[in-house]
């Protein structure tokens, strides 16, 4: 589970940030970054894993998070909100770099286990950030509505990742 920590810690820092709260452009930046990180992790899993369950899950992560990002960018464009970097989005990117570097050292069953363990922890951390920071802090009603609309998909992803995890015998 060590490989999951950097990205998860970045999201927990977002939760700790809840008191002051990010601005709408920063929220848009966090949403786009969090989705892109999971798209990239999915692409890495597609290229390195030979496990069918992992391949199917990675395909789903690429498709769903790409669809969500397309809508987030379309909404940001419509609202004239330019996604901004923040300490959280920067920490997310740094954490993802470290996680990717750890994954790239692994192969076979060890890779599959590290990837899916991280997906479970990552989606839980994203949900915590969604519930405790992003939804309460969003000022624009349409931005808030999009995050609320996306939440059930993240829950489904976490449940799906847990199912794959149990099939791998974790």
């Amino acid at each position: 589970m060590k490989v999951a920590l950097p990205v998860v810690l970045a999201l927990l820092s977002a939760v700790a940030w809840a008191q002051s709260g990010p601005s709408d452009p920063q929220i848009a930046g966090i949403v786009v970054t969090a989705n892109q990180i999971d798209i990239d992790a999915g692409k890495l899993a597609k290229s390195r894993s030979k496990n069918k369950e992992i391949q199917a899950f990675a395909d789903l992560m690429i498709a769903d998070h790409t669809a969500v990002n397309k809508q987030a960018v379309a909404l940001a464009t419509k609202l004239k909100v330019k996604p901004e970097d923040s300490d959280t989005s920067k920490s997310l990117k740094d954490g993802a770099k470290k996680h990717t570097a750890s994954l790239q050292k692994l192969s076979g069953a060890a890779f599959d286990k590290a990837y899916i363990d991280h997906e479970v922890a990552y989606h839980q951390a994203v949900l915590d950030a969604v519930d405790k920071v992003l939804i309460p802090s969003a000022q624009n009603a349409e931005l808030k509505a999009l995050i609320v609309k996306v939440r059930p998909a993240f829950v489904a992803h976490m449940e799906h990742a847990k199912m794959v995890q149990s099939k791998l015998g974790n």
Partner: protein
Amino acid sequence: MRRRRTGRALALAALVLSPGLFAAGTAHRVSMEAMKYAPETLELAVGDTVTWVNRDPVPHTVSAGKSLESGTIEAEREWKYVARQKGRVDYICRFHPGMRATLVVK
């Protein structure tokens, strides 16, 4: 008299040219929202039409093998199906294994 005949002819032409207006069967809608089909069980008759509407931000499918396969339904898109046979059809989303529902064609 000529005017009445013309009127009848126009009415007949409208019937022939607009079969969709007089198609048998009821139209039903199933929403795909919050990663669920609603309603989860739909009872309908042979000849009825079901339209699935994807209100989620991610793609879904309506899949039960060869008898019922929508292919990918993108966000905010719809897919229509006309029930041709009686029976119970349990279907899923091929992408999201937690999404399950049933058609009961009577």
